[in-house]
């Protein structure tokens, strides 16, 4: 038991050390921790506040301000539906709604079985293929509503 609790603590300490406990690098520190655990746990946020000697409220304010951070665990696969302007005019909202119907969650949420987290993003640089859906970094372009189901089935 105790090993499991200790490990993240150590890891976070080593991240803090990598950035020399520099308060100015709070965003980068949080990014590294987010990347490691795919969300920021309460314990992690408290440890950072102590480690950098800044108020908990300040860490919380930064962690909730930026879209890159999540305070809840995320799914095994992250779906990003592009809602950039180019994709929007090509009907991206309909694709998002189709995914929402299929997974029975809303944008921003994670399925109960932690299979998917559904998020939106603004322009992923592939406007020529719009509407675009990105799952775990893989692009699927020229999305149609009837392509949603087979696409999601590829991920378990």
């Amino acid at each position: 038991m105790s090993i499991e609790v200790e490990q993240p603590e150590k890891k976070i300490n080593s991240i803090l050390e990598k950035y020399e406990h520099d308060k100015g690098l709070l965003v980068s520190i949080l990014q590294d921790i987010q990347e490691e655990y795919n969300y920021l746990s309460k314990e992690a946020i408290m440890q950072i506040s102590q480690g950098l000697d800044i108020p908990l409220s300040q860490v919380y304010s930064v962690a909730t301000f930026y879209k890159a951070f999540s305070l809840k665990p995320r799914g095994r696969h992250v779906i990003n539906v592009c809602l950039g302007t180019a994709c929007h005019v090509r009907g991206a909202v309909r694709i998002l709604e189709a995914i929402e119907r299929e997974l029975n969650i809303k944008s921003g949420d994670t399925t109960d079985d932690l299979r998917f987290t559904l998020e939106t993003v603004n322009c992923v640089g592939a406007c020529a293929l719009g509407p675009v859906v990105v799952i775990d970094g893989e692009y699927s372009g020229q999305m149609k509503i009837d392509k949603v189901k087979p696409l999601l089935e590829k991920y378990s």
Binding site: G24, Q58, T85, V89, A98, C123, L129, I145, D146
Partner: protein, 617 residues
Amino acid sequence: MDRLRSPEELEAKRRSIAESRDPEKPCITICDGTGCHAFGSGKVASAFKEEVEKQALESKIDIKVTGCHGFCERGPLIVIKPANIFYQRVAIKDIPEIISKTITKGEVIDRLLYTDNTGNKIIHENEVPFYKKQQRLVFGNNGYIDPNNIDDYLFLGGYSALSKALTSMSSEEIISQVKSSGLRGRGGGGFLTGMKWEFSRNAQGDIKYIICNCDEGDPGAYMDRSLMEGNPHSVLEGMIIGAYAIGCHEAYIYVRNEYPLAVKNAGIAIRQAEEYGFLGKDILGSGFDLAIRINRGGGAFVCGESSALMASLEGRAGEPRAKYVHATEKGLWNKPTVLNNVETLANIPLIIKHGADWFSKIGTRNSTGTKIFSLVGKINNTGLVEVPMGITLREIIYDIGGGIPNGKKFKAVQTGGPSGGCIPESLIDLPVDFDELTKVGSMMGSGGMIIMDEDTCMVDIANYFLSFLEGESCGKCIPCREGIKRMREILTAITEGKGREGDIELLEHLATTLENSSLCALGSSAANPVLTTIRYFRDEYEAHIRDKRCPAGVCKELTTYFINDKKCPGCGLCIKPCPTYAITSDGKGKPVILDQKKCIKCGSCYDVCKLGAIIRN
């Protein structure tokens, strides 16, 4: 590699690179920018390398994987140099034939060529209509450069502007050149770059900063990332020259969180520039020192704004502050700071190299040089285009962009991102520069150019931008936080058929408040998409409000789907895609039946029917 300690050593290095390269040796350049990558160019590139290895042709063919060439629509793209043969939509199965025919025998493969709209096959890259009217001063080198190989940049004359600046120009001369070139910031505001540098140079203090803004928050634009990913050294060179001119020794690149490849390529470029002695201590033996660091943003649009960006760099939430004092005097950590956009900086080496006179002759009087636009949306040739300022919208949309797909009618073009506006068809001959765009109520912004056709609803577009801004407002000041929300609520109500008489006037009233009293430009320009759509498409607003009708068939609550029995042959193609089983067959040969009670207006049937038998209005 030993550091280069003088301009002479740099030139010697350049010569040795040139000597090691055979200009006649065929080189296959493969675009692996984001667009082409999504089309599978990464796999094509690996397969090319394998094939060349398999046939042991390394000594006969070079393979170069580059950043975005611009014509993303036709990806994966390859260009075979030195003949400049342009192949598009290249697949792995084409590779053996490209090598055996084009490379070995010089034969052109017809099916891989681009076909223009009159059916002509085009062989050479520069003859493709998409590229013909462009003037790709900043972006063109992307096609020649492996972004992870500094030698490619040096081979094209890279860092010669830096060497010239360090050895033969004083900082005053550099600033005066940049000033008289007329270069205006490409990040949105259009402020004169030379002036900004001068303010910062004259500001009190030993420590000064220069920051490159690669946050690119405009949700329909991707040119800054493509420059940073494809030709990072051109941006670095501009930054180093700027740093020298203002007397700065520490610089930052602030990159949007969603751009991992830009972070990676900029990082590699910085390391290579350090190794070669273009960064670090005593650059090219001049005694000038500079370090550049990369900072990843956290994913907030407002962080592209100058004071918010600096707050974010300091590790805080990215909230703007009032600008009684300019960043050029008190910016990052309260020190004089210059913030410049990626594209602005990439223009600097050109100005230093060719001179302010040369530069100021390109473009229009008050908007010199070129501008890169991301030409996207309902357009045939989606991609990044670099054009001289002053070119007309018509030339961009029709000559370069190839017009509107599927025979639809052009309706409007949106420029300037969420701070910009929609320009109607009646203004299609407008010359594109900073001032002309502002005159018609839009703006240059960072260069998004989104084309809309008759199927785009202008009220929906206004609603789209305001929803975006509502989510991105930092919430610090009330006019923006509350004003955008209220405007968005009114717009949403209109799109849902709940609009009331007087809504348009109320929107205009709120817009004025936002404009006059917001703390930063996010809020003060937020109403532009609404104001321009009211100005040019008032009838669409009125149709929504009075007739409860969405002429474009976009707003769900105001749209009904039904079957045109005369056109429907009962093929049944639309039955399966319907998620709610609202469509049923009445037997072969008879039109299908749509149950209005079950229809959720998702548009699946409309998308699949090629016979126009599904009507939406």
